[in-house]
């Protein structure tokens, strides 16, 4: 009787753990593949490592460039929306957080972190590891309805809010 319960418990637990692992592994696969190109260089500023495309070495002072609406042909339909749109700066417990999105023909093609939470050594590390995951999630979802990253709640929260405001600005 006890044995049956223990055996049943172990089998059920193993199945559930395997399922959880599998679900998590899917997300890792989704995040690591596109992010591989940028894996290097976490040492510099947190924003540099998270600016995912190798070409765009986003500087924290990107606020100066008049980005909003560049190149948008203001015709009808979302498909026509293109350009770079900055999100608002979100204040978090660990510092400010700001992203911008690159939109091509109504599709978010990149999310760049302009400012990442960087107060305290740990939050830099968190940002470096959370930002690529959040970026991939956002690109997959094509929206700001994405899940927070484990161990990076505040960073995720700021990222998602800023992302939402950028999407709003783009009118997607």
């Amino acid at each position: 009787m006890r044995k049956r319960a223990t055996a049943g418990g172990i089998v059920a637990s193993a199945a559930i753990l395997a399922l959880g692992w599998h679900l998590g592994a899917d997300q890792v696969a989704a995040t690591t593949v596109p992010a591989t190109g940028t894996a290097a260089g976490g040492a510099a500023t947190p924003s540099a490592s998270s600016g995912a495309t190798p070409s765009s070495t986003a500087s924290p002072s990107a606020t100066a460039t008049p980005t909003t609406g560049t190149g948008t042909t203001k015709s009808s339909g979302k498909a026509a929306i293109s350009g770079t749109f900055q999100g608002t700066t979100e204040q978090t417990q660990f510092g400010p957080m700001q992203v911008e999105i690159v939109v091509a023909a109504g599709k978010i093609t990149d999310v760049k972190a302009l400012q990442l939470t960087n107060q305290g050594g740990r939050s830099v590390e968190i940002s470096n590891y959370a930002a690529p995951i959040l970026r991939t999630e956002a690109l997959n979802a094509q929206s700001a309805s994405i899940q927070s990253v484990s161990g990076a709640t505040y960073t995720s929260g700021g990222y998602i809010s800023s992302l939402q405001s950028a999407i709003d600005k783009a009118g997607l």
């Binding site: 959880g20 998590g24 417990q93 959370a130 899940q147 484990s150 161990g151 995720s156």
Partner: protein, 479 residues
């Protein structure tokens, strides 16, 4: 051993005629199968809840990225915290007196499991705090002390989490057997109630800092649902139900009868008491609303099965609180939690019945006997007292035994001096054993009630004799 007893009172006869051996055996087998399936189901549910706690973490974004030592340490810390939370909620449900748990498991066994989880859960909580601090510290290149300070100061909900840790330590330490024995019950109980606060103040850091429970995730929905279920069970079964029972039945003391030095039968009157569904052998947790006794709840067995308007419990002055009970006046208002317990004929699995009672342990045996439909010579009863004063309710038991053609033996005298026998010294020397007393021992359900050390010895001998575990029934009287 003397085999006859003086008789006087005429207890009520069992309500139903005894079913034939085959019919009884069949229904008992079926009941036993159902109960053990339910026990297994509930045990598996506990495993599943633990696995879900970990699996939900594994399924959350980023849980798989274990690139550095610090992230591995942190991940293990998170898992420890999630498992601890899950087990704390399991403990709450076990202590909630859920009727299903009482029916298949017995409240005493549920509480025993609740207790056995206390220390492991505390270790998990400590490991959680330690590993997270070390993991964060490695990431920040801070030592654990510095990291603790920064956790304490930079995160809003962390001071509360540390308070929760301190409360959990207090609750578990005061529940260690060695410590608890030295404390008055009330002091222990008040400290134990702090565990509700400990659970409550741990929650904010789980919701804000703990990203597995971050807002907008389905993990958060799951965990909050678990909290609602566990705390809801407490609210319903420990507070609402007893209140309903108490006000529905309006139980009052009508007489306090001294039946032996230090032992009183408390006679109670109430409305519609059969609706309580008390089975012989069960107990209630009683509170007598007088100036001296209202703050102490007593777990006491029914010493007879209640009828429409009357119930009776019998209690010995085991502590200061019980002593005050003997001074209760008729008319006192009584509140009741229960009935609880699986020390009943419902739990039987075998064709014969062996009842063994010592001292005040007679009370559930007395009502169990009354509530058991019996064939002639199906039941054999052994009554044990260390001196002639301890023959509480023996006359009543003898009366029921005569009416049901059951066999009764009595054994009076102190235990053998080597302290390793449940028999009296005299009967030990004569070679009296369970086998020699109970003619069908291996085909019997054995119900044992008495002081714990004595009960343990009887149970040990029953096991040595080869009685299957499911035929051994005991009620552990510790709350």
């Amino acid at each position: 051993m003397t085999s006859t007893l003086g008789t006087r009172s005429a207890p009520r006869l069992p309500h139903a005629p005894a079913p034939s051996l085959q019919v009884a055996a069949k229904s008992r087998r079926r009941d036993h199968r159902r109960r053990s399936a339910a026990v297994d189901g509930l045990s598996i549910l506990v495993w599943v809840s633990g696995a879900l706690a970990v699996a939900l973490y594994l399924a959350s974004p980023g849980a798989h990225i274990l690139g550095s030592v610090s992230s591995v340490v942190t991940a293990l810390g998170i898992v420890a915290g999630l498992l601890a939370t899950d087990l704390v909620l399991v403990m709450i449900v076990l202590a909630a007196r859920v009727p299903l748990v009482d029916r298949v498991f017995g409240t005493d066994r549920a509480i025993a499991v609740h207790r056995s989880l206390g220390k492991p859960v505390l270790y998990l909580i400590l490991v959680h705090g330690l590993l997270i601090t070390i993991g964060y510290g490695l990431a920040d290149s801070k030592n654990p002390v510095g990291e603790t300070i920064s956790l304490f100061t930079t995160l809003d909900d962390m001071p509360l989490a540390y308070l929760s840790l301190a409360l959990f330590i207090a609750v578990v330490v005061t529940s260690l057997v060695a410590v608890r024995r030295r404390m008055p019950y009330e002091a222990w109980h008040v400290i134990h109630l702090l565990s509700y606060i400990a659970v409550a103040v741990a929650l904010p850091h789980q919701l804000s800092v703990g990203s597995v429970l971050a807002s907008g995730t389905w993990q958060r929905v799951y965990w909050i649902a678990l909290y609602v279920v566990a705390l809801g069970a407490i609210a319903v079964f420990r507070f609402a139900m007893p209140a309903v029972v108490t006000f529905r039945h309006r139980i009052r003391v009508i007489d306090v009868e001294q039946i032996a030095p230090g032992v009183v039968s408390i006679h109670l009157a109430g409305q519609d008491l059969t609706r309580l569904g008390v089975r012989g052998g069960q107990y209630g947790v009683w509170r007598f609303w007088t100036a001296n006794t209202w703050w102490h709840a007593h777990p006491v067995s029914f010493s007879s099965v209640p009828d429409e308007n009357r119930a009776r419990i019998t209690v010995r002055d085991l502590g200061a609180g019980s002593r005050r009970l003997s001074r209760i006046r008729p008319g006192a208002f009584v509140s009741l939690e229960g009935p609880y317990g699986l020390f009943t004929a419902k739990a039987r699995t075998a064709p014969y019945l062996a009842l063994i009672a010592s001292g005040i342990g007679i009370t559930p045996i007395r009502s169990l006997l009354e509530d058991s439909p019996l064939r002639a010579h199906e039941a054999t009863i052994l009554l044990r007292g260390s001196d002639p004063d301890q023959r509480y309710l023996w006359n009543e038991v003898a009366g029921i035994a005569r009416a049901t053609k059951s066999d009764v033996f009595a054994m009076i005298g102190p235990r053998a001096s080597h302290g390793d026998a449940w028999q009296s010294a005299e009967d030990w020397n004569r070679g009296v054993t369970l086998e020699s007393t109970f003619p069908h021992l291996l085909q019997s359900d054995i119900y044992v009630c008495g002081p714990q050390a004595w009960t343990d010895l009887v149970v040990r001998d029953a096991r040595l004799a080869g009685v299957p575990e499911h035929q051994i029934h005991q009620e552990r009287f510790t709350s």
